[in-house]
Symmetry: C2
DNA sequence: TTGAAAGCGCTAACAG
DNA sequence: CTGTTAGCGCTTTCAA
């Protein structure tokens, strides 16, 4: 099949190339009659517009790229959906890329999308990346850092208030009568982990009566929860915490499984609150209380911020959007300890 | 910052545009001295090559797009990783897009990527899509259907032998002494579900002694497993199956949870085998036996097939790659029933 | 409302 | 080994 461009369409429809282009970009400025003929030619010939040429001529594309560290994380996909929706409303498309949190992959996608001339970038990364984004911004490609508050006022970001999340979890546990609280998570060097711990810590301190034991772990997987659970179950009953707040739901799920198996009544003997509110939390043997980040708005906000940045030339008045998570109470922490004693 | 193209680089380095272009595309054909100067100019100026112009000139891009119905499905991300690896080896980049299995989103991405002139497409879809891919192929963009065997010899595809998967599961259950087997899954109209059932069915028939009860359900979620589990637990002991094979791991996990709670010993009283071997399967209270599709090779195979298609003009000799899944035995089905009786 | 023509930045063919 | 140059397909003045 011979390649068909607007030249072929024009010839077939008996008009000039300019008119076809007009039809494509300002349909209202073409007479109905010719519009018809052109549309027919397009259908007939199966014309597909060449984006490279269009973009070259226009000087910019109408695409936004989202580079994420972990595409399989539901956090990401929910976010991406919100972003795509909002982007579509504004006439943009979104391409996804998976960096796996690896620096060289981030770099190569960053470079690739720059070459592609994307209009802007959404970037999530566990790595230090602000300086790289700054360099790219200098070259005319704006970006929004996703998932972490940026340090610079020049670097827009959307993030979640993890300190608040930690506080909500701990306050809930304290309010329902738990005193000996444990935090399971790590490494503390990860910002999100330390924020969550900090929030919990503040709530415990403010309570005046509760205590916080920090169990620092190197990973945040279900298996991690299994290990910690076994260690806790092995303690004498009085040395066990009465409530556990974990850095994420996976640890919490592992913990609940092992503790249950050891005959501990989750929700009564030991309450558990996780973090992230993953789908599985709701469906665990004992449905898991969790901290829910507002993912839907998140993606939309990221695009909004990016669009603002594209439209303005100076720095934004409010470059950092911080969202409040909320507590979802389920069976793993629902029973109040005081009620149970009565 | 003024936009810098190869013209600026050339001026800065004191060479011609052509030499810069050569340096970029055939570095070996440029003297070391000028190469140095050019590299310096590029770094100094922060030159980023304009892909639109390059692509326009070249007539094709060096990008492959992967349109997937569910980006958050680990199946997808594992596959994508394999694909990206293989693509990178061959000098291609991979863009991802999330169709959510919705027709209009598929269509718009299909059109978008065509306009972008991607070199080829990987497409996963729960919908009938072969005719659309055919139309696109006619216009010069080849594709590989992922996850399902294509009907046409002109449409390359990579898929998994689900009939074999079902057979492996059932044979294993029969071999370990189970006779009353149940299949939980649905809707049967979904190819993958009916294939898995069919495989199990054949194995049961061949055994001569086992029986197969089909429990047709409308969804395949953990909650589905909860429901079916409750129904089974409510039966008199003798009317319960001694083994259950499920259409996916989620159902199996729900099933195991509810049956356990009802005092049924998973693996002894009732064996369970799931499908997909998701991460949770390994970490469930009772680790779940499952059928593992070979995801890693899958992504690589898809790209290989696509590259072959790009390089050849006629139809491929072997357009359909079908992979064999394997059985992973864990505690949920490990104990042999005969051994237990002795 | 329509047509003619310039040129976006780059690559490769060709000449030197 | 290096420079010159002709377009790739499209959009958009500008003129009619």
């Amino acid at each position: 099949m011979a390649r068909v461009g607007i030249r072929e369409v024009a010839a077939y429809a008996g008009v000039s190339m300019g008119t076809v282009s007009h039809f494509l970009n300002h349909p209202d400025r073409v007479s109905a009659q010719k519009a018809d003929r052109i549309q027919q030619a397009i259908d007939q010939l199966g014309f597909v517009r060449n984006n490279a040429a269009r973009q070259l001529r226009l000087g910019h594309s109408t695409t936004i790229a989202y580079i994420a560290p972990d595409v399989s994380n539901p956090f990401f996909s929910t976010l991406a959906e919100g972003a795509e929706e909002r982007a579509a409303e504004a006439g943009y498309s979104v391409f996804l890329a998976n960096s796996k949190g690896e620096r060289h992959r981030e770099d190569s996608y960053l470079a690739l999308f720059q070459e592609y001339g994307v209009r802007g970038l959404l970037v999530g990364s566990p790595l230090p990346i602000e300086d790289r984004l700054q360099a790219i911004r200098r070259h005319g490609t704006p970006s929004v850092l996703v998932g972490r508050r940026a340090g610079s006022e020049l670097q827009p970001s959307v993030s979640i208030d993890d300190v608040l999340g930690g506080r909500l979890a701990a306050e809930h546990l304290i309010k329902t009568g738990r005193r000996r609280i444990a935090f399971v998570g790590g490494p503390i060097s990860v910002q999100q982990v330390s924020d969550r711990l900090q929030g919990a810590s503040v709530a415990v301190r403010e309570s005046g009566t509760a205590t916080l034991e920090v169990i620092d772990v190197g990973t945040r997987l279900i298996a991690t929860g299994h290990e910690v659970g076994a260690a806790i179950a092995a303690r004498p009953r009085t040395a066990r915490p009465t409530a556990i707040f974990t850095a994420n739901d996976l640890i919490a799920i592992g913990l609940a499984q092992t503790l249950s198996t050891s005959g501990i009544d989750i929700g009564a003997d030991i309450a558990i609150v996780g973090y992230d509110n993953i789908e599985y939390a709701e469906n665990a043997i004992v449905p898991l209380s969790s901290i829910r980040p507002p993912h839907e708005e998140f993606g939309r906000a990221a695009i909004d911020l990016l669009l603002e940045t594209i439209d303005s030339d100076g720095p934004l008045a409010e470059p950092h959007r911080v969202f409040a998570p909320e507590l979802v109470i389920r069976a793993s922490s629902a029973k109040s300890r005081t009620r149970r004693r009565s």
